[in-house]
């Protein structure tokens, strides 16, 4: 079962680093870059895919998602690095979109709170 996280590139980049640091290869983390033009450009993340292999991973992901509010300054810095300066503004956290993919082509939207129940389900 995969968790698909969609959000702003800077938040996703912060999450990518945290998930990689905390879970390493067991998260089977896949970073999805934007590919909406014919130009060949540096990657701008539009989604992360994490394999929910067990309750420990689910709990870790939940903890990382919660922690992101405490790292607003760090994420704001990543945002400034990624956007053109005339768009600079006070960075505001956005609501992440979470979806659960069962590997058979089915997906459903979930909330951060749902991750609690999910940890028990995958145990």
């Amino acid at each position: 079962m995969d968790l698909i996280i969609q959000g702003q590139p800077a938040e996703l980049e912060w999450l990518r680093k945290e998930i990689d640091r905390e879970l390493g290869p067991q998260a089977q983390l896949e970073a999805v870059p934007s590919q909406d033009s014919e130009e060949m450009n540096e990657p701008l993340l539009v989604a992360l895919i994490v394999a929910l292999g067990g309750p420990v991973i689910v709990e870790s992901i939940k903890g990382i998602l919660e922690r992101r509010y405490q790292h607003l300054e760090e994420i704001r810095h990543l945002d400034l690095q990624q956007r053109e300066s005339e768009m600079r503004h006070q960075y505001e956290m956005t609501e992440l979109q979470l979806r659960l993919a069962d590997g058979e082509g089915e997906e459903r939207r979930i909330t951060e709170q749902d991750l609690e129940d999910l940890a028990a389900d995958v145990a």
Partner: protein, 463 residues
């Protein structure tokens, strides 16, 4: 909110566009010079040097894309078609004098539209026990999904890595390097997973991409090669001693499955979706370069394919073996590769106070030395400047640009609110000095109506 990357290569113009980040004293000094004396040669030299020193690794990645454009037949073919699409609106307007209300709206033919987006269509490769199926995916977001862009980006990423370490590298080290910052990595992950070896994925990935882009259907060909490897066993291919032999092996396999296309099969008059499937051999590729020499990448393609011993073939060699051209202790590449420098680069600073008109345009020496066939002695350097203006202009118009040009201070100018000049790069100090109106009239045979709401014919410019 739309995000623009800080660096990208436009396959139509082969131009590398860089918007530099900074914050150090040198950046601040350059910003000051951009505001006070943007035409001063020392500012331009300083900006060029800064981009090379601070963003060296990124530049090498973009350079790899330019080498791909010069040597991968499928990319050259696609760029030629995109260039045809690019000039389409100008050609249409110049041959159909009429009154066109603003903002301009153009509708691309559905088949051409599809063909222009082929590189971004997501596919899922389903690896079964006995076969590999591919299916078009609903979105780019999902595990195991690949696009052609992944192939090109990760080929360039491997190039960047090998140039940085000046060696072929190891799979595990490459994986760690990928994690340092956002980098394209899902193709490498996909191959690593199915080959069961990061070393094998690193070794085979760029060779598979090179062979795939010698065909008219790169992604399908890539997956065919992948299928062959899975069927025969990855060890057999990893044991092939050289990348050149490996590439030949993949091409023999593709030829046996797909056949080859002739030069006559590859027409600019029809969209890519109409191409027959097959390997584009060297002769049809050379014919393609000759039949469509207007591309700015053409001099590089010619040099690589037909250059004298010691000068030709270096683009292909560099893509195969970046470590032969880059030494991690030396910031400069091997001197002979400089002939293959990107045809054009724009460099600007990522700061709200950077005047857009101060953007540096750097053209490669090769373009200054080479004459465009059939253009009365004009060099590629002159021609490329015109191509870039066309490209920037129409890209913005076709993307739906409308209303005030916020990058230009000349609000009294008739074109300021027309939505036509959003892509115009050079903003002069005085509105009367702006070359945009003249350029637009030249390529469209139209001008802004006196009530500023439409384009109307300019009879004095019609041939």
């Amino acid at each position: 909110m739309e995000r623009r990357p800080h660096s990208y290569v436009d396959p139509v113009t082969s131009c590398v566009h860089l918007t530099l980040r900074g914050g150090d004293d040198e950046f601040d000094g350059l910003l000051g010079a951009a505001r006070s004396s943007p035409t001063d040669p020392s500012f331009k030299k300083g900006l060029f040097a800064y981009s090379h020193r601070v963003h060296r690794s990124l530049l090498r990645h973009e350079w790899a894309h330019v080498l791909q454009l010069a040597t991968y037949p499928a990319l050259y073919l696609r760029a030629a078609r995109s260039a045809r699409v690019m000039v389409g609106p100008g050609v249409f307007l110049s041959t159909n004098p009429d009154r066109y209300p603003l903002p301009l709206r153009f509708q691309m033919d559905a088949e051409w539209q599809l063909s222009s987006m082929l590189s971004t269509i997501p596919f899922r490769a389903v690896v079964g026990e006995h076969d590999i199926r591919t299916e078009v995916a609903k979105s780019n977001v999902g595990r195991g999904i690949l696009t052609e862009r992944d192939l090109l980006e990760e080929d360039a990423t491997v190039f960047q890595y090998r140039a940085e370490i000046s060696g072929p590298g190891l799979g595990r080290a490459y994986r760690n390097w990928l994690r340092e910052q956002p980098r394209y990595s899902r193709l490498f992950s996909f191959l690593g997973l199915h080959f069961g070896s990061a070393d094998a994925a690193l070794r085979l990935l760029p060779v598979m991409v090179r062979a795939a882009f010698r065909t008219t259907r790169p992604l399908e060909s890539f997956l065919k090669i992948f299928g062959t490897i899975m069927h025969e066993g990855v060890d057999f291919f990893v044991d092939v001693p050289t990348d050149e032999d490996l590439e030949d092996l993949f091409l023999i396999d593709l030829r046996s499955k797909l056949g080859a296309v002739t030069a006559d099969d590859l027409s600019m008059q029809k969209p890519e979706s109409g191409d027959p499937q097959g390997v584009i051999e060297e002769e049809p590729f050379l014919s393609l370069i000759d039949r469509f020499p207007q591309l700015s990448i053409s001099p590089l393609s010619n040099l690589d394919a037909r250059g004298a011993t010691g000068k030709g073939g270096l683009a292909r060699e560099a893509l195969r073996h970046p470590e032969r051209f880059f030494d991690r202790r030396d910031p400069e590449p091997r001197e002979d590769l400089l002939a293959y420098w990107p045809p054009a680069m724009t460099i600007s600073l990522d700061h709200p106070d950077f005047p857009r008109g101060a953007t540096l345009l750097a053209l490669s020496p090769l373009l200054h030395e080479t004459v465009v066939p059939g253009l009365d002695g004009r060099t590629y350097a002159e021609w490329t400047q015109s191509v870039l203006k066309n490209r920037m202009l129409w890209r913005e118009v076709l993307a739906g640009a409308a209303g005030v040009n916020s990058r230009c201070p000349h609000s009294a100018c008739g074109y300021h609110e027309s939505g036509l000049c959003h892509g115009w790069m050079t903003v002069p100090a005085k509105a009367d000095d702006c070359e945009f109106p003249q350029f637009l009239s030249l390529i469209t045979k139209h001008r802004l109506s006196t009530d500023r709401t439409a384009l109307e014919p300019a009879p004095e410019l019609e041939a």
